[in-house]
Structure formats: structure tokens, C-alpha cells
């Protein structure tokens, strides 16, 4: 007997016991319980009649420097980081969106140099533009952007470079980062905890 058939049998017996209660018992409260049992049993039967589908967690992927051969590979990794570990997509979008809370990054790779991009991620307060898009005095942006190479996000230099590669790709630009520029792991850059600790060092190397 399959799992579903077994569950169906349970449901039917729940419904059946509800009917039995209604048939044989006179006092009100048990009868209400019997009625509730019938309703719940029917609900479960309905739930068993629709397709049974579970959602399995996908395999966790690791940033492995050995697999990076071309700038496109790098951008593919950058794409994953942008939308997951880097948490960039919690605020930024690529392309217009109603939910954007921070600047739209579409075309950013064409507008800004890779060095500037790197600096904006690691030292977001370095250059703060004033916001002139409204009447009156220009406002200071409340640069809410966290330093990406520090905790809690803590991307390694390699990871930041691949995000830049991805941003360039999404702007229709040639990717200016070559896989040969990546740090060859003496220590694994993939381990997130280590990467977080080695953040400041990565900044130093970038300059």
C-alpha cells in the first residue's frame, strides 16, 4: 500500500468515526467533535487528491577556483554570489523594479570602472554623492550600503571580482577581469568564515 493510500485510509476512518459518533451518540459535545472529525477528514482527503509534490533543497554549490577558465565562468559565479551570499539583491536590482530600495545596477558595469566598483563595495562611504533629484538643497545619501568585505556578508576578493565581472556582463560590456587575477588559494577562499576574517587583507591587496 502506498503512503498516499495509507493516509487516505486514515482519513476515511476519521470520517467514519465521525459518522459513527453522529449515529450513536446523543450528547451535544461529542457530536460536535464527530462533526469536526468529518470535516477534517474530508479536508485531508481533498489535500490527498491533489498532486503530492515536495520541494527538495538544491545541491549547495561551492566557489571552486579550479573550475574558472574564462571571464564568463567568473561572471556566472558572480551571478550566484550577487543573488545569494553577497545579499546584493536584497536591495539592488538589475533592471527597473518596484521593489528596488537602492540604485538599480543595470548598466553600472558600463558606467563605472572596475576599480570604482570595487571601492564602492568595500568602502561605500568613500564617495557619497549628493542627491539633487528633488527640489531644494541637495540631500546627502544615507549610504546604507554595508562594507561587503566585512562581516556579516564578508565576501573575499575573488568573490567581489566575480561580482564585478557579472555586473559588467549584465551591462553588455566585455568583462575586464581575467581569471588569472584571482588569488590562488593558499587557504580556501570558498570557506565563508575564513573569507569574512580575511576581509581587510583582501582590501589591502586590491590597492
Amino acid at each position: 500500500m502506498s503512503e498516499v493510500a495509507r493516509l487516505q485510509l486514515i482519513c476515511l476512518s476519521v470520517v467514519g468515526s465521525g459518522i459513527l459518533i453522529l449515529l450513536f451518540i446523543k450528547s451535544v459535545f461529542p457530536r460536535v467533535i464527530g462533526f469536526v472529525a468529518i470535516v477534517l477528514g474530508l479536508f485531508m482527503l481533498t489535500a490527498l487528491a491533489v498532486p503530492q509534490m515536495a520541494s527538495l533543497p538544491p545541491v549547495e554549490e561551492k566557489f571552486d577556483i579550479a573550475t574558472v577558465k574564462t571571464p564568463t565562468d567568473l561572471a556566472a559565479i558572480g551571478q550566484k554570489i550577487f543573488f545569494s551570499k553577497g545579499q546584493c539583491a536584497l536591495c539592488h536590482t538589475i533592471g527597473p523594479s518596484e521593489s528596488a530600495r537602492c540604485p538599480d545596477l543595470k548598466g553600472i558595469g558600463a558606467k563605472l570602472s572596475r576599480e570604482f566598483l570595487y571601492e564602492s563595495m568595500t568602502q561605500p562611504q568613500a564617495y557619497i554623492y549628493k542627491d539633487y533629484r528633488h527640489e531644494g538643497l541637495p540631500k546627502m545619501y544615507p549610504a546604507e550600503m554595508p562594507a561587503i568585505n566585512k562581516n556579516p556578508i564578508g565576501l573575499s576578493r575573488n568573490e567581489i571580482l566575480s561580482v564585478i565581472a557579472f555586473l559588467q556582463q549584465m551591462s553588455g560590456e566585455p568583462i575586464s577581469i581575467n581569471p588569472s587575477e584571482l588569488d590562488v588559494p593558499g587557504q580556501a577562499p570558498a570557506a565563508p568564515v575564513k573569507a569574512a576574517q580575511s576581509g581587510p587583507m583582501a582590501v589591502a591587496q586590491a590597492h
Binding site: 498532486p51 543573488f83 533592471g95 543595470k106 553588455g172
Partner: protein, 238 residues
């Protein structure tokens, strides 16, 4: 017996309409049994609600049934009463037998057609500028790579489509690509059928994993060509 005959008649008429009239409307198709069951259930519960909404109507509906079941003062219907009393358990038994017997029908496949894309694809936008040239290029790529299955008319009826289950998507249908953003199509084309999550039943999809053959830029162009050719527009936030 008025109301109960009405109830039966109502259900029969509804069933006949759903089973034989609706499928023959142009552009329609037979309804699955689950849907017919749902509609019949609604009809019946509606009838019961109306029949029991007042004391009079309830008596009118339930009184005859009660008298019939008990067999009081029903005169010539006594024989029918016995038939019903014998048939009902037999019907229940027959259904039980059927439901425990090994089914002749293979398990239904309720594949999710548009499962959620992986996070890294949900927020992309097309980096290729939308110009007549790029759209034309996209259509060219479409003709070369996609049309054998999805059809030269974007209707999912390509020459190679006939053997595939699930069938190739019909882009002209307003409930396919018109409901999706370009990034979704990008994911589906790039990663192909094997990139689907479990609810999309990736093991059945014949969609190739185009990232092995086409650069991203071509895929973005194909997407533009597809929307243009199928006279649809992508879902946007603008």
C-alpha cells in the same frame, strides 16, 4: 419526491453540459474528471443550501426522502425502496472494489509548468538593447535553434514536437511567456529542461541546455525575437 428529482435532474443536466456541450465549443477540450466533480459538488451543495434554508423548504425536501426511506405511506413505491436499499450498499462495495483494484491508468502527471527560477535568475534584465536589428537577429536565431520544436509560428507546433511529453511551450498562448519576465525565459533557455526543479519534472523535458551551445547574448536576443514574433510582451514592473 419533487425536490430530490429536481436535484438529480440538475446534476444530470450539469454533467451533460460539462461532458458533452462544453467540450464541443470551438477552441475547447474535454474537461478532466476532477473539474467535473468539483462543479457537480458545487451544484449539489448549492441545491442543498437552498433546500434547507427554511423550515418549509427543508420539510419539502427532506420529508419525502424520510418517508421513502422509512417506507411509511409510500404505497406503490415500496418495491423501489427495496431496490434503493439494496443498491446503495452494492454501489458502495463496487466503488470500494474499484478503488482498491490496481488501476489501468498510469499515475497522473501534474507537472508545475512555471516553477520558481533559482534566485540568481529572478532579478536579471536584458542587457541587449532593444533595436529592430537585435530583434531581427533574435528571430534568426529562433528560426535556427528553437523553431524545430516551438514552431515557426511560435505556437509550439514545430516539426520535431510531436513525440515530446510535455509538449513544447506555445508562446502565442497568453498564459505562457506573457506572464513571465525576460529573466525567467533566460533561465529556462540557458539551463534547459534539466535545470528545472523537481516539481517541473526535469527528467521529461526535451528542452536542450542551450548554455552549452549559445552565448548569453544570443539567448537574450532570442528572447526579444520570441516576444516580438509571438506578439506578446514580457511582464515588467514599469
Amino acid at each position: 419526491m419533487g425536490p430530490i428529482i429536481k436535484l438529480i435532474l440538475l446534476n444530470v443536466v450539469t454533467y451533460l453540459i460539462l461532458k458533452f456541450v462544453l467540450p464541443n465549443v470551438p477552441g475547447s477540450a474535454p474537461l478532466p474528471a476532477s473539474l467535473i466533480f468539483l462543479y457537480l459538488l458545487l451544484t449539489t451543495s448549492g441545491f442543498l443550501i437552498l433546500a434547507t434554508v427554511s423550515a418549509e423548504s427543508k420539510e419539502e425536501f427532506w420529508g419525502p426522502i424520510q418517508r421513502f426511506l422509512v417506507g411509511d405511506g409510500i404505497g406503490g413505491l415500496q418495491a423501489l425502496r427495496w431496490v434503493v436499499l439494496i443498491l446503495f450498499p452494492l454501489l458502495v462495495g463496487w466503488q470500494t472494489y474499484n478503488s482498491t483494484a490496481v488501476s489501468d491508468a498510469p499515475p497522473g502527471e501534474n507537472r508545475t509548468i512555471h516553477p520558481a527560477p533559482p534566485g540568481e535568475y529572478a532579478g536579471l534584465s536584458n542587457p541587449v538593447p532593444k533595436t529592430p536589428e537585435t530583434i531581427q537577429q533574435g528571430k534568426g536565431f529562433y528560426a535556427a535553434f528553437c523553431s524545430p520544436c516551438h514552431g515557426g509560428n511560435f505556437d509550439g507546433k514545430g516539426s520535431a514536437a510531436r513525440g515530446f511529453n510535455p509538449p513544447p511551450a506555445n508562446f502565442a498562448d497568453p498564459t505562457t511567456i506573457a506572464m513571465l519576465q525576460e529573466s525567467y525565459l533566460f533561465w529556462r533557455i540557458k539551463k534547459g529542461g534539466v535545470g528545472l526543479p523537481i516539481e517541473g519534472m526535469p527528467w521529461k523535458s526535451a528542452m536542450p541546455r542551450w548554455e552549452l551551445e549559445l552565448p548569453d547574448e544570443w539567448i537574450w536576443k532570442i528572447i526579444m525575437g520570441e516576444y516580438d514574433g509571438a506578439h506578446q510582451s514580457p511582464r515588467t514592473w514599469e
